[in-house]
């Protein structure tokens, strides 16, 4: 059973928003909404400031609070790859999952249900990379199986320093930022 994850090289990401545009096109995201986005983080003390640019989205956590709080089972972990998905037909739009997500990765679709990144599972099941990974012009995004030691993601995580977002929240996120 694979465990899908993403490793994003923050030394290569230039924040071009290609991943955002690809996601919107691939998944027909309505105008004014987004499943992924760019975060620029500046930290340090002047003049020794550091800039990190990150492409962010749902972290497809191993212990997702959005799934455990869902009253109808609409938010669920997909059988293949541990991807966190929302069954639109079961969703009642109570928004508890949005409140439970420390990454603010979900939103209410204009049609009423809650929506989020799916790791483009429809593409992955056909052997393709998620749209955001496929279009990245700097090849900073890597998608693969965390349980396969030969996958790109596993090899990068074994050889490079990395961090996840808000590990203190205890959700065990599956998107890693290489530094």
């Amino acid at each position: 059973m694979p465990r899908y994850a993403m490793a994003i090289d923050t030394r290569k990401c230039v924040g071009c928003n290609d991943c955002v545009a690809a996601c919107k096109t691939e998944n027909n995201i309505p105008l004014g909404y987004t499943r992924d986005w760019i975060t620029e983080e500046v930290h340090g003390a002047f003049p020794t400031l550091q800039l990190e640019i990150r492409s962010e989205r749902c972290n497809h956590c191993d212990d997702p609070p959005c799934v455990s709080c869902c009253p109808t089972g609409a938010s669920h972990i997909h059988d293949r790859g541990g991807v966190v998905l929302v069954d639109h037909d079961k969703c009642i739009g109570c928004k508890a999952c949005i409140a439970a997500c420390p990454y603010n990765a979900r939103y209410v679709h204009p049609d009423g249900y809650v929506d989020k990144c799916t790791f483009c599972i429809h593409r992955v099941e056909e052997g393709l990379d998620p749209a955001c990974v496929a279009v990245c012009p700097t090849h900073c995004m890597h998608f693969g199986d965390l349980d396969d030691p030969e996958s790109d993601v596993s090899r990068l995580l074994a050889s490079r320093p990395f961090h996840a977002l808000i590990p203190e929240a205890g959700t065990k996120p599956c998107i890693f930022y290489l530094t």
Partner: protein
């Protein structure tokens, strides 16, 4: 001084620039849920403790449950208004998700209706004879319940247990959402339970005050009330229960204040994100409204007024009841809005 500055290109409605997915509908629902929970617990206790011909209990175990059914329906309606995918609401009742407080709550809400209805029916013909004459079946139901002592005890216990579950659930619902540090406390359950009990005691006290003949009441209000009483041929409620309700309300308010104190101490002595969350109420944008409307006019002033009433220094009035009810409503509004403002990213970023 090191700085951390985040620039996020995300722009999702209701999420950015700060979370505001839950608004007045949820605050009102949490308030009404707590109020109904309090009415159930008081009704259950009084139903078991009542003695034959002890009319003073009618406000607690008949009028309270009837009001509770109305408040619960209103609360469920506001909850429905909040749903974004309204036509799929029936999905709540096709499953039970053991880890979801909202799933627990939706099933608990279904238990509230029969429990409150049974409690109201027990003494309904005695409280509103006109209704019993028009619907004789209520007389039969009342007789059926009152002739079986075990059933009276069972209904009373059911009201207490379901009431406690409902009151605590409204707090647990927010408390389990760890992504919002202000809500992330197990004390929210007991806080909402005792706040619900205090607003319920205040509501019953208020009903007593309104229905008691009063020469100082404006003539129009007196006309409306007497017309309503004539219409249903309701028995006048015994005002002797007033001091009991005021005393109980004082106890609930004192416990609520102690839990609020522990809640703030817990956050203020916890991690950085929890300290930042507590600062919303202790020096942040919600400080003034919290201390004025929840602590000040919602707890301290009614405590003083009711103590003066109980020591017979002033007469019983509607004022403390109204203040307690508004305080309970303000508590839910402030916690719902401030909780959404508290966040891991923002706290770490400061």
């Amino acid at each position: 001084m090191p700085l951390t500055e985040l620039t996020i290109s995300r722009h999702n409605p209701l999420v950015d620039p700060s979370l505001h997915i839950w608004e007045w509908q949820i605050a009102v629902y949490l308030f009404l849920g707590g109020l109904v929970a309090g009415l159930m617990i008081i009704a259950g206790v009084r139903l078991i403790a009542i003695r034959p011909n002890q009319r003073e209990a009618l406000v607690c175990c008949t009028i309270g449950p009837i009001a509770g059914l109305v408040f619960l329906s209103l609360g469920m309606f506001t909850l429905f208004l909040d749903l974004a995918h309204k036509m799929h609401v029936w999905r709540l009742y096709t499953t039970f998700q053991i880890t979801s407080p909202m799933s627990w709550g939706s099933w608990i809400l279904l238990l509230v209706y029969p429990a409150l209805t049974a409690n109201a029916l027990a003494h309904l013909p005695e409280a509103i004879p006109a209704l019993a004459r028009r619907f004789p079946v209520t007389l039969a139901w009342s007789d059926f319940i009152l002739r079986r002592e075990w059933l009276v005890v069972a209904i009373g216990l059911a009201n207490m247990i379901v009431g406690i579950a409902l009151g605590i659930y409204t707090g647990i619902l927010l408390g389990t959402l760890g992504a919002r540090p202000l809500w992330n406390s197990a004390l929210l359950g007991p806080l909402f339970l005792f706040s619900g009990l205090s607003t319920a005691a205040a509501t019953l006290h208020g009903i007593l005050m309104i229905t008691t003949p009063d020469k100082e009441r404006p003539a129009f209000a007196d006309f409306l009330l007497s017309s309503l009483a004539r219409l249903v041929e309701a028995h006048p409620l015994d005002t002797r229960v007033g001091p009991v309700l005021a005393g109980a309300d004082n106890s609930f308010l004192t416990i609520e204040a102690a839990i609020l104190c522990l809640f703030l101490i817990g956050h203020a002595t916890s991690t950085e994100v929890h300290r930042q969350a507590a600062s919303l109420l202790l020096g942040g944008p919600y400080t003034a409204v919290f201390w004025i409307f929840v602590i000040g006019t919602g707890i301290v002033v009614p405590l003083i007024l009711q103590t003066l009433e109980l020591t017979r220094r002033i007469r019983h009035t509607l004022a403390p009841a109204v203040l307690v009810i508004l305080g309970g409503l303000a508590l839910r509004f402030i916690l719902v809005y401030a909780g959404q403002q508290s966040h891991w990213f923002e706290a770490l970023n400061r």
